[in-house]
Each structure stands twice: as C-alpha cells, then as structure tokens.
Point group: C2
C-alpha cells in the first residue's frame, strides 16, 4: 500500500502548497526527504533506510508534481497518483540523478525561483557536492521554501488524524499488556524487545522508536537504548514509543513503578498529570505553543523556567516530532487539526527525573485526546 | 549501552582518520549524521528519529573529538569515552547550536581547513540556512572531507564483524521459523508483523528494515511495504530484513515458495545461488567490486549488463547499505575486513523477478559467509 489516503487528499495538499508558492514567488519546489515526498505523493517505503540513493520530487507552482527517482522505485511510485515519473539507474556515483533533476527543475521553474526547505527541522537529503553541481547546471542557487512545507504539514486532515489515532490506540493496547512482560528481575533489554513485539501484535506496521529507562525513583535520561540491567523493586520503568501505522506515528509514554511507588515518586507523577491537564484545558484555537508551555511550567516549577529536556511537547505526524515546539520562544497559534504531544517533565531529585507524554489534537472547542490520558496513579508492576 | 566496543577501538578509528586528515590538509572535521557520530564516539540512541535537534562532532587533526550536542543527550554522551561535551538547550529555533559549533570549530581548526562529508552517500544533517550561518561565523566555507570517513568505515574491525555476524545469526533463526508464520491464506502484512516479532524474539534490538513481496512466480518490486493480500499457492514470498543488534545491521533475504515451485521459478532460484557462489569464489583481497558484479552478471545474463535494481550487492555495517557498490563502475579493491552483501537478481518473466541476498566478510584467502548461504532449493511453505 502507498498510504491510506485517496488522490483528492494529495491534490488538496499540492493545491495548498501551490497557493503559498505563488504568494512567495517560488516557481518550483525541490523536495528530497521521506516525509516531504510522502506528503505530496503517498510514496511509502522503508527503503529510505539506505543512504545510497537520493529521491527527488519537483513541485511546480502549477500542475502536477514530477517524481525524479531511482528506477528501483518506479513500480512503487506507479501505484501512487503521480504519473510523471522520471528515473535513472542508481546508484551511479558519477551523476546520481543530478542531470535529470536539473533538466526537470528547469522545465518546471521556467526561469523562476526554485525553493527547497532550508529552515528549522529540515535537511537536504543529497550530497552537498551534488547540490553544488545541481546549482551549476541550473545557473542559479536554490532559495529557501519560506517554510511552506513545514507549516502545511502542521495542520492535519481528518484522514491523517484518524491514522494517528489508530497508532495511539495500538500503543494503548500494548501499554496495557506491560504487566505481562515487565516484572522484577526482567532485564531491561528484554522488556524493550518484548514491548516492541506487543506493539507489532497489536497492529503496528513497524516500531521506529522506543526509548525508556528504569531506575530507582526516576531516571537520568530519556533517550538511551536499553541496558541488560534487571528491573528492581523501587525502580520507575518508563517506556516511550513511536510506533507507525500506515506511515503515521504516535508518540507517548507510560511510567510504571516496580512495587508501590514511594511518596516522592507518586507525588511527582501526579504533578505531571496535573501539568498535562493544565495544558489540555487551554489547548484550543487561538492559544499558542508558548501558552501551553507556560501552563505546564506553572504546575511543574511555579513558572521558574524549564528543564534540560528543552521542551514540554511538540507536533507529530509523519515524523516522531515535527512542527511546533512547546517552548517559550514558539508563538505558533494553535489551529484545529494540529496534532501534538504534551510532555511535562520534572526533576524528582538531582539527576533523577520523570517525564510523562500524551497525544492530542486541537479541535474547535476543547482539544481531543488521542492517547488514553493517564490518571494520577502510576501503574504498579510486581 | 553505548555500543559494544572498548575505548581502544574508538581511539584507533580517530587515529586513522587523523592520519588521513593530515595527509589531506584538513585541520578539523565536522560530522552531523548518526553513523558518523557513532563511529567515532559509540553514541547509540534511537533519538535520531526526531528531526528537530542537530548533533555535531568536531574531530581535530590532533587530540580528542569534541561533542557539540543538545543538553538532552549529555547524560548518554557522558557514558561514552568522549570527555569534551559542549551542550545547548535545544530546540532553539533562533540559533540551535550554530554559535557554539562555530566557536568549537574555530578552536579546533586554528585557521586551517574544515572538512565535512560531501560526496557519495553523504548528507549534512542540519538546515541549509544554518550551514550558511555557520560559514558566515567561520568566515570561510567548509570543504569536502576527501571521502575519509566513508573509506575508513568500509573496512571493519573484528569487533564490528562480530556484531554483524551476531545480527546475521539472529536473522537466520528468524528465517528458520518462517514456516510457522507464513502459510497459504495469511495476509502479507500479518506475515511482515510476525516476522519482525520473530526477529525481536531471536535477539534483534530493533528492526529498522523489512521489505518483501509475495506474488505468483516472482515479484515486481523489492522495496514495497506489505499489502493485506493473503498468500496464495504458487506465490513466491520474499522477506528481506535489516535488523540491528548493538547498532550493527545484517541485510539478507530468503525466498519461499507457497507449495512446490514451478520449473521456471525453481531454475531461477538455483541460478541466483549459482551467481552468489560465483562471486563468493572470487571475493578475496585484490578483486574489485566490479569483478564481483561481473562474476554474478555472467551467470545471470551471460554478461549482458544489469537489472533495473541497479546493483548486485553493497557494503553494510552501521547502515543497511554503506560503502562499496557491486556495479561495473565501482573499482574499489577488496580488503580484509570489508563486509558486503551479494545480491543477485533476475527477471523470471516480464515484470516478475527474484532477488537473493547473502552477507559475507572479506578475509585473507577465501571470504567468510556471515549469513548461512542458501542452497539451490527454495524453502517450501504450505
């Protein structure tokens, strides 16, 4: 399958981008990354794991997108709504599609500006030497895309929201089964493997992200892979998963206590849930990303600032994190259809923290939870 | 855990890179991608799945590397052998580490050239706008790294080879269990989920890559995700996995026939195994990547050229594909320690192909298989 959406959805995305391109004076967009290509085409493959082959999409300010891709992807691209598919035999270390791409961009831009994402969260997925060669062939430099693609992707369609809700429901069923796989004495790396297995059994297509930790009364870190250390009574086990269904992520976590939590841990967890609700209560159109940060930070620190984790939530969708950041500097105004995480964290003691995370979608009126919002009590494991 | 290797291994890698840097006149290297950072530090996390935060490593031509990273990664980086760790609070859309990075590069390069990977298979994992800002702060442009990092990574240490062998053994045990999960009537997407589960049960840390297909007498495509179509008698089921253990990949596949294969399919599969052996027989130091291509192509097409898949194998290690390509244009000379796949493919009928893949390591003398080389007969499923 090449994505869960019908052609009308992709055409609407292209149309919206083209409106912005015309306003910004951009005659053609060059897109090079997995989510950018998939957003406009529905092209869904795990083959991006290989760094060898570049993939390009050229989006003119009017007319349909043109795929400029390695021939190994032609059969799959033909299953999408894209009809203009130009291929080369990759890998070809000498050219690797640059000549074909330059010709296509010239044709699409007709002498006008060519944009590509250059701002926050972007990267160009092609060698810099090939960018230089491309610009020489074009006789001009690429310009910034004015953040068009990132901004468009922030507001999800109902079909996208449904896909994320499905991913969240799968993770919810997996979290409910954690007591079966995580007990005192179980090595953390086995718990990680077993939890990924549960995600697959519950319907994940794949599990690109799992982080977590287990330590007495809180953990030092939320991005580490698993150690072989067995779970001990008094540990807090945190599992944070980004599983994918039909190309869309969930991203939320659960904390569990091995045996009953002590008073500090219990109170810290309850405070995280309070912070989550403080943001949820004001998460509606017109509020800003910074407002949600401040609502949580008031509960967490009395408004003192922020933890070293850097932000208290973020957008998500085709990527584990994308779009807005719940930080004081992000003044993005919430709109219906934005999907985001609320991710409050707090330090229980020096070097020991707890982090909690839920997923929500902004609606007209109150926000809608996509993950099953946790109560104040942590799950207790034996 | 931050990788399976001891500090001496990372120091040896740094030392080798520094020798080449001095020969090329490069005073400091800037590295920005996951495998590049991990190669020199052992920093292993799945957090790279998030595109929001850039991560940098500065490698001076003499002295230890310097990590310039978001503070969320400091605790994990401190577990590696790296001691000079400089952090900023990310995400910070306004600067996002560029100022800190510029200062560190100036200090490390002392006015000399600063290189970064710009060639084949590389990309720069930071926004282009931030590259421009960095170069403005430095008062100079970055230059190409002369392919130093890619070339070094091609030749694996014994510890790396052992890690890849472990990944291959895990996949081998999972492939052996395929008859339990793939029978006539099983939907392909369920087979994909179940196969990933088997990989985890057999010891994979995670399963970043699974592709495959099932169709009568051969498939049109080897990069597609699974459809919901049930397996039918007469189908060839192909599963191609890149699972990870301790940060190292395997990458090989197996073809299975639903019911006994017909004569054409059987003969095509046997030819792929013949082609694999033709390459294996000559895979030793001194032969080139192109030689292996030609040895396989002679069996596959009588030396006519190549399939649209583009290459008949590739290097692997920290990435699913990396380093050399078995194509006529790649004249890389094989050296002991190079790990690669042999991946012959053939067209059984128009639009229907079979592809086979195994993993080997180049040794003094004959190459050593890392995956259990398949016999000529396909596995038969009920």
């Amino acid at each position: 399958m090449t994505g869960p959406f019908d052609t009308a959805e992709y055409r609407a995305r292209v149309h919206a981008a083209q409106g912005e391109m015309q306003a910004e004076g951009i005659a053609a967009l060059l897109l090079t990354t997995e989510p950018e290509l998939r957003y406009f085409t529905g092209f869904l493959t795990r083959f991006w794991e290989s760094p060898t082959r570049p993939w390009f999409l050229v989006l003119p300010a009017a007319g349909d997108p043109i795929a400029v891709i390695p021939s190994i992807g032609a059969a799959l691209m033909q299953q999408t709504w894209i009809t203009d598919i130009r291929t080369w035999r990759a890998p070809d270390p000498a050219d690797n599609g640059v000549t074909l791409l330059a010709g296509t961009l010239k044709e699409a831009a007709q002498g006008g500006d060519i944009g590509t994402p250059m701002g926050f969260e972007s990267h160009l997925r092609m060698p810099l030497a090939n960018l230089a060669r491309l610009q020489a062939l074009l006789g001009r430099d690429l310009r910034d895309d004015a953040d068009i693609v990132r901004r468009l992707r922030m507001v999800k369609s109902e079909a996208e929201i449904a896909a994320i809700a499905t991913a969240c429901a799968i993770a919810g069923r997996a979290f409910a089964r954690v007591p079966k796989i995580a007990r005192t004495g179980a090595p953390l790396d086995r718990v990680f493997r077993d939890f990924q297995r549960l995600c697959l059994e519950e319907g994940a297509d794949w599990v690109p992200y799992l982080a977590g930790a287990a330590a007495a009364g809180g953990y030092a870190d939320v991005i580490s892979p698993a150690t072989t250390k067995p779970l001990e009574r008094g540990d807090v086990l945190m599992l944070d998963t980004g599983l994918v269904r039909h190309g869309y992520f969930c991203d939320y976590n659960r904390n569990f206590s091995l045996g009953p939590p002590d008073a500090d841990t219990r109170s810290a967890h309850a405070r995280l849930i309070d912070a989550t609700h403080a943001a949820l209560d004001i998460a509606r159109p017109g509020a800003t990303a910074a407002d949600l940060f401040r609502a949580m930070d008031a509960v967490l620190t009395g408004g003192q600032g922020r933890g070293d984790a850097g932000r208290l939530g973020h957008g998500l969708g085709m990527q584990l994190t994308e779009g807005l950041s719940l930080i004081p500097q992000d003044h993005t105004v919430l709109q219906p259809g934005m999907v985001l995480t609320l991710e409050p964290g707090c330090e229980v003691a020096p070097g020991r923290m707890l982090v909690h995370e839920e997923d929500i979608v902004i609606r007209d009126g109150p926000a809608e939870p996509l993950s099953p919002i946790s109560g104040p009590e942590m799950g207790v494991l034996e």
